[in-house]
């Protein structure tokens, strides 16, 4: 990663920190100290806000200077992590398809939440797992062959062995 990359990233992260600091101060305005004391529920949020603001300013300044404050080992560390992260495409963020896949994965979890209460665990989990397998490029028939036993095993392990009250499926006798 070059200096400019580090710089623009620091600028973005610094802005996030400053926003977080502002939000914390604003949200803690109604919190009060313990009666008769100087400190209370507002103490920790204000300390975090101060820390966040200081870090935000540090990163913004560093970002404007092109990431000059990045520690010297950063490049080696990034290279090391890239190696450790195996053969991942480092430029995925430039591809709209990658973002669409991420959005789809999030949507599949949301679909589980929406479907599990009215239809129960099995159909909701089937939709999510099948969708994820297809998203990861598994062929439809293979995906079905994997998804069905996987959700039945999960249902048995958590629902019957560990007694987790997973949402019941009305049309399968409540299983």
């Amino acid at each position: 990663m070059g200096r400019t990359g580090v710089g623009s990233r620091d600028l973005v992260l610094g802005t996030v920190c400053l926003t977080m600091a502002g939000a914390l101060v604003w949200m803690s305005r109604d919190l009060k100290a313990i009666p008769g004391q100087h400190y209370g529920a507002d103490t920790l949020p204000n300390v975090i806000a101060a820390l966040s603001a200081a870090v935000g300013l540090w990163m913004v300044v560093s970002g404007l200077r092109g990431g000059a404050d990045a520690s010297p080992g950063d490049d080696e560390l990034a290279a090391m992590q890239a190696e450790a992260a195996t053969l991942r495409d480092p430029h995925w963020a430039r591809k709209p398809a990658s973002w669409a896949r991420l959005a789809a994965a999030v949507m599949l979890v949301l679909a589980y939440m929406a479907l599990s209460v009215p239809f129960g665990f099995l159909p909701a989990a089937l939709v999510t797992l099948l969708g994820m397998l297809l998203l990861m490029g598994v062929r439809p028939f293979t995906a079905l062959l994997i998804a069905v036993p996987a959700i039945v095993a999960t249902r048995y392990a958590f629902g019957d062995l560990l007694l987790v009250p997973l949402p019941r499926t009305p049309f399968l006798g409540g299983w």
């Binding site: 919190l31 313990i34 870090v55 190696e83 195996t86 979890v109 797992l129 598994v138």
Partner: protein, 497 residues
Amino acid sequence: MVLAQALQLVLTPEVLITMVLSGAFGMFVGAMPGLTATMATALLVPVTFFMEPVPAIAAIVTAAAMAIFAGDLPAALLRIPGTPASAAYAEDAWCLTRGGQAANALGALLVFSAIGGTFGTLVLILAAPVLAEVALAFSSFEYFWLVVLGLSCAIFVSPGSVPRGLMSLAIGLAVASVGFDNPAGQPRFTFGSVDLMGGVPFICAMIGLFATAEVFRAVVAPTRLRRAERPDTSGLFRTQWQNIRRYPKQMMRGNILGTLIGALPGAGADIASWISYAVSKRFSKTPERFGKGHVEGLVEAGSSNNAAVSGAWIPALVFGIPGDSITAIVIGVLYIKGMNPGPTVFLEQPQLIYALFIVFLLANLIMLPLGWAAIRLGARMLSVPQNILMPVILLSCVVGAFAITNSLFGVVVMLVFGVIGFAMEELDVPIAPAILGMVLGPMLEKNFVTSMIKADGDLLAFFERPIAAGLGVATILFWLLPAIRWALARRRSAAAV
């Protein structure tokens, strides 16, 4: 008497079977490139939630120890470290495998991992009760400084840039401040949600940060693995006696350094492994052979990373201050199980503490047969396709998060933290300081406000008790260290000009 009770707690079929199964699970997760020991722990927690304290902790300890060793398997067979803790010596392990010495490399990694883990556990057994007696004299002032020192270590000792570490810490502390559980008892950042009154469920957040985030990373940029070769791994243990006799100093140095680094909050097995590898090369008679398939670095760094896993339990059990992300998760589990970590647990539940010590030792011994089996299966285990594994992991995350809260609220938290963890990883913001912030935030606030009530708001009270003053001065010096180093470097470069 206490030891007999502890043995009774551990030597039951339930605990032993749990250890073997969780060990196999840890082996599998650790061997998968991209899946870490912390992820193995986070995925295991929902299952341990339904167990008694001893088997629950036994499961986590065994899985974590196995996962750290198992990360060495793809390092040696594919040149891809399974966990970051194996990255330091992946090149050497791979070169040895290619040179027909797979049995020597993998055998060394297995045996010295077990030795390192056992050494760290013995230090824990000897040091923890002594430290606990000292800690009994601690008041809120000392605990406040300990927490601040722990958080500072997490920032300054971890690799990567300091401001990003501080940003991560601020995120963790902000998450910890949600809920009713604060000194004033006021609902804080709950936005009217009843679910948030009890705070953000820590385990669901962990599952999101470590497991869901990794699934998202695989979704946006799938990992392409080479096919692992099937090297000859017969006679794994035969050459290790020679290695012990040839490199006793390296083994001990790795053990000691790993345990010490592990005991520092924020510095876990990854850092221990890199530092030990560097130290090994620095003092080696044949440094030119490092990186080209030399077993010396494997002995030292392989011992060190497992010793660090054991060392991290020292501050976790004695002070309730986690040494790394894994112990942070376990501290959460211990609280759920009513076994609040800290010095008093050594007085009130000594049989449980000794049971944990026995579990730690057993976990490192079980590593030898399980590791042997994993090495024999190695190439076959690594051929499990990531595109099947990741969707199954996502389903486990969803069900696991649901199991913690028995409601969809847990799944919402998991998803939110999955997205946050994904963004942090991609933006090179370390996650460990956020975890420590989440665990230590309430402790920081409670000890600060309690101290201020005792001292009537006088901040100098933090320096009035000798141990508190010592810890306070040490913490402030620790903060000033980067500035001092910077000033010295400037002076040196000015002198050179």
